[in-house]
Amino acid sequence: MYRIVYNEFMTSSNDRVIEIAGLYKSYGRLEAIRGIDFHVNRAEVFALLGPNGSGKTTTVEILEGHRNRDDGMVDVLGHDPAHPGPTFRERIGIVLQSTGVEPYLTVEETICQFRGFYPHPRPLEEVLEVVGLTDHRATRVRRLSGGQQRRLDVAVSLAGDPDLLFLDEPTTGFDPAARRLAWELVRNLRTLGKTIFLTTHYMEEAEQLADRLAILVEGKIVAVGTAGELMSRDHLSTIQFRQGLSTAVLIKDVTDEITLTDGVFSIHTTRPTETLAKITNQATQLGLELEGLTVTGATLEDIYLRLTDTEANKTRKGNG
């Protein structure tokens, strides 16, 4: 059942499915993408994470060939998507943000229609099974629920058995249960050996699904790597202990950001060892016990919020 279809890019660009360098795009005076670089390896799930309006959809649409860039180098499966060769669209699958299929056809007819566009389509039964629509094959599209329509979108993008799949905000507007189902689906796709490029503004989604991720803020990549790499990148940690009678003196030398909530001090630091030493030394000298002392590494959410916050502020100041 499995065919060798990698010849072309095995020779052209080893294991990189997507490569971007110096990508730039503006709409009039709005600079949507301001010089970004990253790459995506074969058979990995790569997430482009960023707040709304950060340029995610512009980036993914440039990769899909839906939009032209102003500057920079883009290589997708050995093609320049702005001037795609005849085989480019046969090897990618696109799930757009909006559903776009005939409402009066059935699920099966819709998938068959799209299978007909490709030289080596994926078998109908397999497509139905991967997206979990086997029981709904005879249902007309307009009678499907929102979540089922989204799965049909994925089915349609799989019809041509693509090497690379683009998912643009696949779970926006989903309730938590539907989101879990969608995540299951993406994990299924990964087991098929597909390279998956997804955009999302849900930090948790990127953390759950992605092998590697890039954080995009206001048209710039501010971090790229595995979730683990990002979390350990700045050694960002939080030291917490309960406020006591004379604890205020303990933090007099601490220069990091400190918050006091519900009687608990939280110190956010990029030098946890040094900061902790300052505090515990003071405490030892004074013979104080620190109640509820914890040191925790940053979650991806901490990193994400920190990066999106500072970057957004910087830009705002920069723009006056």
């Binding site: 899909e64 060939g65 839906h66 005849p86 669209r89 046969e90 990618i92 696109i94 757009l96 909006s98 559903t99 776009g100 299929v101 005939e102 409402p103 009066y104 056809l105 007819e109 229609q113 799209f114 007909g116 566009f117 490709y118 030289p119 007309r140 349609v156 041509g160």
Partner: protein, 259 residues
Amino acid sequence: MMRKIQLGIRQLRYEALAFTRNPAAAFFTFIFPLFVFVILNQLFGDLVLQVEGGETNSATFYVPAIAALSVVNACYTGLAMSMTFSRDRGLLKRLRGTPLPVESFLIGRVLFMTLVAIVLVVIVTLFGAVFYDIAVPTDTLPALLITLGIGAATFSILGLAITSFIPNADAAPAVVNASILPLFFISDVFMRIDDYGPKWLLLVGDLFPVKHLSQALQTAFNPFETGTGFEFAHLGVIVLWGVVGAFVATYRFSWEPRL
């Protein structure tokens, strides 16, 4: 090119399938021209019309007139509406991300609308022959078919061109109707304008392709016609509109939903 046509024919099947799944829309598409035909015959039925070669009755005028209406309705109105809806629903953008050639998609949809138009013309002609005793064209049949083909092609192109001026699907009926309905009154479709209209309205009608289509069809249906029934001057004007429409459609057409 063969593969593009093959894919286009395949698309045509899905167009037809989707069409039959909406029986109410299908029924009224086919019944509408008959409504108009019967009503106009009731309103203006007693007229005796002078045509080249002799005198005819109103039904002989209204069969080709409603044939023209059918072509315009299916190809221009139908295509403009369906393309706008497909565009706003994201179908066009989705198809553009697949290997399906643009031409194949257009072949499928335009051919489908043309088929609808031909079925409508057959229905009106048979209805006229059975209930109003009009003569079905025989010697002029090639002229009739070619005129219908040129009309269908031009009005399909114009339907695609007007789509680029329609901001969103909600605005489609208003824009399309406003652009075509007034023409039916001054283009020998609802009535023979020469009998009623002021001179300047005749001239306005001459500028647009609807009147040329209906007059070319009048000749093909004229029972006294002795020649082949081709109206080359009228066909020329129709083709000219098709060429202009093709330029507009090529340069302005957008595949993205407009919000």
